[in-house]
């Protein structure tokens, strides 16, 4: 009677290990394919346009909203201690070190990551990836590596945009609406943000970009191997949901780990 649950647990453990191994090999292949020629520069630019330029609007609104809320919340808290002058410092440090990289990665996962996962999933179930292999065309060089490189370029740039728009949003809420001194907002930001803080934000954005593109494209690529995904169109939809959830959770977990290690 006890054997069945233990057997299921064992099977699940083996499946998780197999899946991790598969995904690790996938990551190595995708990164090694960077050195394979010919490099698909046009596809790389197309992916930058899709992941980067295509996400600008959602990043702009998310950043503006986050910055303005931070401005209002920060003012409310700091005002209690008569420390409104610290608002610029609080908003900029929160955005540069934490919210900028995290929210940008989550937005990219939801918008571009899901699309990349579905694209590769559909290509896999309709034999398009097998067709590439049969033509002796490396699917990693042809399809996947341009997405990896584009994400590694786009996510840090989008994070920078997020930080700037967010800080501007905080300025609007704190200075224009709540009456904080504009000089102290700017001075607080300039004096408190160090190169170390910016470096932490940049490292995070690279790592999160890699996590999102790795998990999202990997789930799509392995759509036929994923347990419980089903078949056909249903499998693609399930795997796409799974990719967004997994990449979002991974971003949040790695955010804590990186902060703990690098702060």
């Amino acid at each position: 009677m006890l054997i069945r649950p233990i057997q299921n647990l064992g099977e699940s453990g083996i499946y998780v290990l197999q899946d991790l191994g598969r995904m690790a090999i996938y990551l190595v292949k995708a990164l090694l394919a960077v050195f394979k020629r010919p490099f698909r520069f046009r596809e790389f630019m197309r992916q930058i346009h899709f992941i980067g330029a295509g996400s600008l609007v959602v990043i702009f609104f998310t950043a503006a909203s986050t910055g303005m809320v931070l401005g209002l919340q920060g003012y409310y808290s700091l005002h209690k201690f008569g420390a409104e002058g610290m608002l610029g410092s609080a908003v900029s440090l929160t955005l540069i070190m934490e919210l900028g990289p995290v929210l940008t990665a989550l937005m990219v996962a939801g918008r571009a990551g899901s699309a990349m996962c579905a694209e590769l999933g559909i290509m896999q179930i309709s034999d398009q990836i097998d067709a590439l292999e049969c033509m002796a065309v490396d699917p990693f060089r042809y399809l996947i590596t341009p997405k990896f490189l584009a994400a590694l370029v786009s996510v840090p740039l989008l994070t920078a945009v997020f930080d700037v728009v967010g800080i501007a949003g905080g300025y609007v809420a704190g200075v224009s609406l709540m009456g904080v001194n504009p000089g102290s907002y700017i001075d607080g930001m300039v004096n408190s943000v160090t190169n170390h803080d910016i470096r932490l934000g940049v490292i995070k954005s690279f790592v999160f970009g890699l996590l999102v593109v790795w998990i999202c494209t990997g789930r799509g690529y392995f759509v036929k191997e994923i347990r419980g995904a089903g078949f056909g169109a249903e499998s693609v939809s399930r795997v796409t949901t799974q990719a967004v959830v997994l990449s979002s959770i991974s971003v949040l977990v790695f955010d804590y780990l990186l902060t703990a290690v690098l702060l």
């Binding site: 559909i122 292999e133 049969c134 033509m135």
Partner: protein
Amino acid sequence: MTVAIEFKEVEKHFPKRDGGLQRVLDRVSFTIPKGKTTVIAGRSGQGKSVTLKLILGLMKADGGSIHVDGKDVTNVGGRALEQLRTRFGVLFQGAALFDSLTVFENVALPLRERTSKGEEEIEALVSSTLGQLELLGHEGKYPAQLSGGMRKRVGLARALQLNPEIMLFDEPTTGLDPVMTQEIYQLFAETQARVGFTSIIVSHDIPKVFNLADQVIVLHQGEMDVFGRPEEIPLSKKEHIQAFVQTTMGEIYQSQQVEG
């Protein structure tokens, strides 16, 4: 007879949910003659597509060996596998055209990726193939804008670009009406006569490929039977072959009886 492909005691199995093994190919041996058409037949789930994937190196055999032109290719990988694959052309069940590329771009893809030919030469080669397959005028269309038959023809055009020695057709007429099916098989026969490749057609529908086959391999529960000609199949005394004949070759019997 020159042998193009040889399977020697090939085994392939997949894990089952209950922890056991499903033997798709159980020590299967056969040869595929060069320049001829071999049909691999059998009901769904009997390992027909697995056999194709083993030939193409998309799957690895769990036992035995696979030889192409006498060379053991069972465990080749990397560059050697790439070189091997350039000798094959494949027409997939759904044609496997790239949705984001036009007909011209789909057909030009292997030339752009696998050769150092210039754009002018590629354009000339693609146009020539499209002309032979009556696809001129459709170069700018996307796969979603094509009928099922046209998609198969575009898939065939793409597969022919690197002058394959061996063409593999995976259920090539699934989803096509009888008239279109006849047209497609007619096109295969004409193309094979012109190009001279070895043909392997995977199909569950023997009557439709009856006239094309020089050899038929019937797969059933991991085992196989080889027949020199399709006419020999009904003569088999094996129970599963008789069942297969009754379910898939009934219309041939009927037509033979009417002719008789």
